[in-house]
């Protein structure tokens, strides 16, 4: 079977980026909007066709085959070479579907949302660049290629967050996102170097192979008690921590909400932030087998901690996009912990399957939540919950689709989120009780904060709006409806037939007791939010006062930003770097300035040669002639 046409999937957005980028001033907005949408529509159709073809026909002896098409790009020695290519494998095909669906919906939505904006074509060019980078990341065949596209995705994110470049807060947020993820990527790079040095290969096929040099020989070289491969994998995971906004590198995600809402939906909800999860899933055999899953434990605990902390912070935020940002961090924590508790064979690999399933459903409902929030923000011209209320009367389609997404994320039975979250909880229950308890708590908190948002925005009291909010145009509501259908129906896809750790299908059954616990916890959260927020009351404020200083800490996001600023400004810049700064200012700069000043003083002295007095010129002439004569005479004599 030939899947080489999949190389077109990233190339169409790349061509779009080049054309829209070069001719951004000359292409009118209506044309660039359609160009972007049609191009992504083509990638969408190709992805669906690939998925249909692969999942129905791709098995050989019950195992899904991996197809790679690559060409050698840079050759350093005969062992060290960097290839570029496409890798077709259950998770990459699934990610193709996810990325192309959400990207297409965001393109269609942006045609309505960004209407009237000056940089409309530039926006679509950047969206195309992002889509190209994400497709390339998903289809990468080796560690270096994934690193290249990883950085490209980070650059696109920078461009898109800083889209409103005249706003200082947007520019600061873009810089923060890029610098934090770049810092994490330093770990990623060192990890790549360590793993590739000791294993001799960068290719995913060779790294992951069960008979390969790593899985059979990881114990050979050790450093400080742990295998070098464990260190390498932990460093690679650091890159994932940065990109997926896990603790401690999560600080960029709330600020990234400065970008336009379609950007938040595409990048910071559905696609880029799951790149870290995808990386761990891609290297899952390594994570599982090396040092009996030491690195995988780290993945699980960081994921669980991030999901808990993010859910707590989301309870107190007032900006709707920030609530959704922390919700994203929490759900990605779920995906990481599901991978972390997973094992490998058949039904034991439930965590892996659950993580990928949740990635799929989360992309749908989180993108829907963000696009719905964008619709609300577009109508009310404010991001804050205090400026919104009773919007169900004015925006029925947005209301219903938002409700569907909220029910899905809360895990209400029947919706997609219920199925995927339930699988994660089962995997946690079977493997790590502490993480299970934390996850159930997070499920409760998720239901509570998302319905807090829902009731405060769509119910509550009717605020004084300057002009009555109206429903968004069709270009914005059609993507909402499509994603709502997927947020409901996506749960019925039998994921365990298609995406598993060892690439063989297994049937998963609904574990009724655990499902009952999960749903009841979710429904309890919904009821609590109903009591607190449906009508305006002072119950939330009384609760906040009762929690006192804990409320204050949570409202300020546990002061992570302030702590990091303190460490960098006072400790790193003030103490550690002061020597180098002194050297730079007083020696390097001084010598450059000194050279300049010396040149000026020499020139000051020499300029007297052009005195304007012809007698001086004559003296120079005669003097030169005499010296020349003396030299000639001296040579003539000898």
């Amino acid at each position: 079977m030939d899947f080489s046409y999949t190389v077109l999937i990233p190339l169409i957005p790349l061509a779009l980026f080049v054309i829209l980028g070069i001719f951004s001033k000359k292409i009118p907005p209506s044309i660039s909007g359609w160009m972007g949408s049609i191009g992504l529509g083509a990638s969408f159709v190709l992805s669906l066709y690939t998925a249909y073809h692969y999942f129905l026909n791709g098995k050989l002896n019950g195992v899904y085959q991996t197809f790679t098409y690559k060409s050698t790009w840079l050759i350093f020695t005969d062992k060290l070479h960097i290839d570029m290519g496409v890798l077709i494998d259950p998770i990459s095909v699934m990610m193709l579907v996810v990325v192309s669906t959400v990207s297409l919906m965001v393109h269609l939505y942006s045609r309505g949302y960004m209407k009237g904006d000056d940089g409309f074509t530039r926006f679509f060019a950047y969206l195309a660049l992002f889509s190209f980078s994400m497709f390339g990341l998903v289809l990468a065949t080796n560690l270096f290629q994934i690193y290249i596209f990883w950085e490209l995705v980070g650059a696109s994110s920078f461009l898109l967050i800083g889209y409103y470049y005249t706003k200082p807060s947007a520019v600061a947020a873009a810089k923060k996102a890029f610098i934090v993820t770049r810092f994490a990527d330093l770990g990623f790079l060192i990890g790549i170097l360590v793993v590739s040095y000791y294993s001799g290969t960068l290719d995913f096929g060779e790294l992951n192979s069960l008979q390969g040099s790593i899985i059979t020989g990881w114990a050979s070289t050790t450093f400080m008690g742990l295998s070098v491969f464990t260190w390498g994998l932990m460093l690679i995971y650091l890159g994932g921590v940065g990109k997926s906004a896990m603790l401690p590198f999560h600080i960029w995600l709330p600020d990234a909400m400065e970008g336009p809402t379609p950007v938040s939906a595409l990048i910071h909800a559905a696609t880029m932030v799951v790149a870290g999860v995808y990386l761990v899933a891609r290297l899952f055999p390594l994570f599982y087998f090396v040092e009996d899953g030491f690195a995988l434990n780290m993945v699980a605990y960081i994921g669980a901690l991030s999901s808990l902390i993010a859910a707590i912070i989301a309870l107190t935020q007032t900006d709707i996009k920030r609530i959704l940002a922390f919700s994203t961090m929490s759900q990605i924590g779920y995906m990481m912990l599901a991978l972390g508790v997973s094992k490998y064979e058949g039904h034991e690999g439930l965590g892996y399957m659950a993580s990928m399933f949740h990635l799929f459903t989360h992309a749908m409902f989180k993108a829907l939540l963000f696009l719905g929030a964008g619709s609300v923000i577009h109508a009310v011209h404010s991001n804050y919950m205090k400026d919104m209320g009773s919007l169900r009367k004015y925006m029925p389609i947005t209301h219903i689709t938002f409700l569907i997404a909220a029910l899905s994320i809360a895990g209400f039975p029947g919706f997609a989120g219920f199925f995927s979250k339930d699988e994660i909880l089962v995997a946690a229950y079977e493997n790590n009780m502490l993480i299970y308890i934390s996850s159930v708590t997070v499920a409760f908190l998720t239901a509570f904060y998302i319905f807090r948002l829902y009731f405060a925005v769509f119910w509550g009291e009717d605020k004084k709006y300057e002009h009555t909010p109206h429903e968004s145009p069709l270009s914005m509501t059609i993507p909402l409806i499509f994603l709502a259908i997927l947020s409901f129906a996506g749960g019925y896809i039998p994921f365990s037939e298609y995406v598993t750790a060892d690439k063989m299908s297994f049937t998963s059954h609904l574990n009724l007791p655990l499902a009952a616990i999960a749903s009841s916890v979710g429904i309890f959260g919904i009821i609590l939010a109903f009591v607190f927020y449906k009508k305006v009351s002072d119950l939330p404020d009384r609760f906040a006062k009762a929690f006192g200083v804990f409320y204050k800490w949570t409202y300020h996001k546990f002061y992570f930003d302030e702590i990091y600023q303190f460490v960098t400004k006072k400790i790193l810049f003030g103490i550690v770097a002061s020597g180098a700064a002194w050297f730079d200012k007083n020696i390097v700069d001084a010598s450059m300035i000194g050279i300049g000043n010396k040149t000026m003083s020499i020139s000051h002295k020499i300029k007297g040669m052009q005195s304007g007095k012809f007698q001086d010129y004559a003296m120079a002439f005669v003097g030169g002639g005499v010296i020349l004569a003396m030299v000639v005479f001296y040579i003539w004599i000898n």
Binding site: K607, G608, Q610, S611, G612, K613, F614, Q615, A618, M619, V622
Partner: protein, 105 residues
Amino acid sequence: MIEGISIYEILTLSSILFFIGIYGFFTRGNLITVLLSIELILNASAVNFAVINTYLYPDFLQGAVFSIFIIALAAAETALAIAIVINLYKLVYSVEVKDTETMKY
């Protein structure tokens, strides 16, 4: 040929005249005096020609003839120089060298 004086003394004389002329050219503050110094230089070289002709090649005439050439040349060159000085005077109303120093840094 002058009795009792060797060539060296007269050559020294012409060199001294030459260098006085050069010194005057570099140092004098009036344009006409600079021209005077140029005359001195030219005449010193004419003396040189005449002396070498008389003392070393007494049967030939070329040296003396060339001296006359030099006199004519000096006259022509001085005429040219005076023309320049007159044109300059029309601009700066002075024959001092200090008033011609405008083309400087």
